[in-house]
């Protein structure tokens, strides 16, 4: 019975190595089952409590009969990552601006992908729109009339932001695993996504056509974001010799801030 072995319900064990949590960070009891299932990405379909069942889909409560790869194409299997309410999202957004607010503790039990997805999308539109507006204001100061709306900003912004938000956390996930720590990919994506939120008000402020002020603003935003990343990485990975990785993550975040200033708000 070969196929029986392939379909054993061991998919929930993949990657869900029990994390060594300090005492004060033990997740709430009823959420423990949800935590372990949320460790692997994506969870098996039907393995969620109260997950959305799309109309017309077979109501299969058992995991064994569904092969693993189908979970990637089923909308319902991503629904647990969007299990947040408005107030929860707003709370996480606010705590992402102040680096010392214990952000990681908030997302540990229920990491969400709604925040990263819409923060990056909003940032793309803001960068493209305000970048164009900023160049318009700058060239108006020099009294030339050759400004044209550069729609290429949309393409660049989309490539850079989506690429950064997806690739960098994945790369650090693999690096951290290689060096022995046990991170969780979804929490990395969630944290990096929320770390980009501070660039949204920064990009509004970067409209001010004073060059020195712009550099001050972007340095402030980049610094806060890098500090946020460093603090939360240190909290979620226990080893002290990860300093190199943590430092490189912060430097990368600051480099992103500089790139935003140089490319979009030149």
């Amino acid at each position: 019975m070969d196929e029986g072995y392939a379909n054993l319900p061991t998919s929930h064990l993949l990657g869900s190595v029990p994390a060594v949590t300090p005492e004060e960070r033990k997740p709430a009891g009823p959420a423990e089952a949800a935590t372990s299932r949320l460790q692997q990405f994506p969870p098996a379909p039907g393995a969620t409590g109260g997950g959305y069942q799309p109309p017309g889909s077979p109501l299969d409560g058992d995991v064994e009969t569904q092969t693993n790869w189908k979970g990637y194409f089923n909308v319902a299997s991503y629904a647990p990552y969007f299990n947040v309410d408005t107030d929860v999202v707003v709370d996480r957004l606010i705590s992402s601006v102040y680096p010392m607010d214990g952000f990681f503790r908030k997302i540990d039990a229920n990491p969400d992908m709604y925040g990263p997805l819409w923060i990056t999308t909003t940032l793309i539109f803001m960068l493209a729109a305000f970048g164009n507006f900023a160049t318009y204001l700058m060239q108006r100061k020099t009294d030339l009339n050759i400004w044209n709306f550069d729609v290429g900003y949309f393409n660049w912004a989309a490539t850079v932001m989506y690429g950064y938000a997806i690739v960098v956390p994945a790369a650090f996930f693999f690096l951290f695993q290689y060096f022995g720590s046990r991170p969780s990919l979804v929490r990395f994506w969630c944290m990096w996504g929320y770390s980009l939120f501070i660039f949204i008000p920064a990009s509004i402020l970067l409209l001010i056509p004073v060059e020195f002020l712009r550099w001050v603003i972007i340095a402030g935003a980049g610094g806060a974001s890098s500090w946020f990343i460093a603090l939360n990485l240190k909290e979620c990975t226990e080893g002290a010799d990860m300093m190199v990785l943590i430092a490189s993550a912060s430097v990368l975040q600051f480099a992103l801030a500089l790139f935003i200033k140089v490319f979009f708000f030149a």
Partner: protein
């Protein structure tokens, strides 16, 4: 052996059987209940009843559309059975009891276009303008279609592309991609937040809500005044959001209403910004 078919809509595929026409038809009349089951797949005739032009009472007896090449002038046998012009008599398979439904394949193109246009207009009136169905948005767009949204998205892309002075094709590409992918992602967003929504109905609604932005883009194309553009775009964004609000907000849990509505607003604002800024 050429058969001038005046109607010209069906071409028999197979050579005639060994029986004579009359024998064939008689055997088919007697074997009527099963004839429908063995109806061969014909690529050119619709699976609905068709009213042949020469509809004489005996034709109501189920004669199958066996693809026999009926000679056009075999008047001796064909006057009461298969019409002399073509072998397109079909069994009334559509068992809805209303007689023969209209044949949408052989109707004039103008009829088809007119029907689709009238559906677009009626859907538009239901979605974008005040109407008694706003309480139950699912019922409003019961008869959703995707022609309207397609037309509005392409029109908006064309208008933006027309008013751009550089990189016209890129402007169209960005506008089209943002609107089309945006509609899909917005619907998926509602589904992922645990909402109850029909995928294509939501796509259809988001497409129809672009109509005010189309009007705004057209006005901005005509008059190139910045202040006017800002005012017009602000009004049209408000109108679009007002039109899209009922379906999106009732589809999700009330505690997540803002999470579902914000991306809609984001999409319309970004398109509005494109309309203002393109010069």
């Amino acid at each position: 052996m050429s058969h001038p078919h005046p109607q010209g809509d069906t071409v028999p595929l197979h050579p005639s059987s060994a029986q004579s026409d009359m024998d064939e038809i008689e055997s088919l009349i007697h074997a009527a209940p099963t004839a429908a089951a063995v109806l061969p797949a014909r690529p050119s005739s619709p699976p609905r009843a068709s009213i042949p032009i020469s509809n004489s009472p005996p034709v109501a007896a189920p004669t199958s559309s066996k693809p026999q090449p009926v000679p056009p002038f075999s008047s001796a046998v064909s006057s009461s059975s298969a019409p002399p012009r073509s072998a397109s008599v079909t069994i009334p398979i559509a068992a809805d009891g209303f007689g023969a439904p209209p044949n949408t394949l052989t109707e004039p193109v103008w009829d088809t276009v007119q029907r689709d246009l009238s559906r677009i207009v009626s859907n538009l009136k239901l979605v974008v303008f005040p109407n008694p169905f706003r309480e139950d948005p699912g019922k409003a767009l019961r008869d959703w279609d995707l022609w309207g949204p397609f037309f509005f998205i392409v029109f908006l892309g064309l208008t933006l592309s027309w008013s751009a002075s550089v990189k016209k094709s890129e402007v169209f590409a960005v506008a089209f991609a943002v609107l089309a992918a945006g509609a899909i992602i917005l619907t998926l967003n509602v589904l992922l937040l645990g909402g109850h929504i029909i995928f294509f109905q939501s796509l259809s609604l988001l497409g129809y809500c672009l109509f005010p932005l189309d009007v705004g883009a057209l006005i901005c194309l005509m008059k190139d005044n910045v202040v006017l553009k800002i005012v017009v775009v602000a009004v049209t964004i408000a109108w679009s959001s007002w039109a899209a609000y009922p379906l999106m907000s009732t589809a999700v849990n009330p505690r997540r209403k803002a999470l579902a509505l914000y991306p809609v607003f984001l999409m319309y604002v970004s398109v509005g910004f494109l309309i203002i800024a393109i010069n």
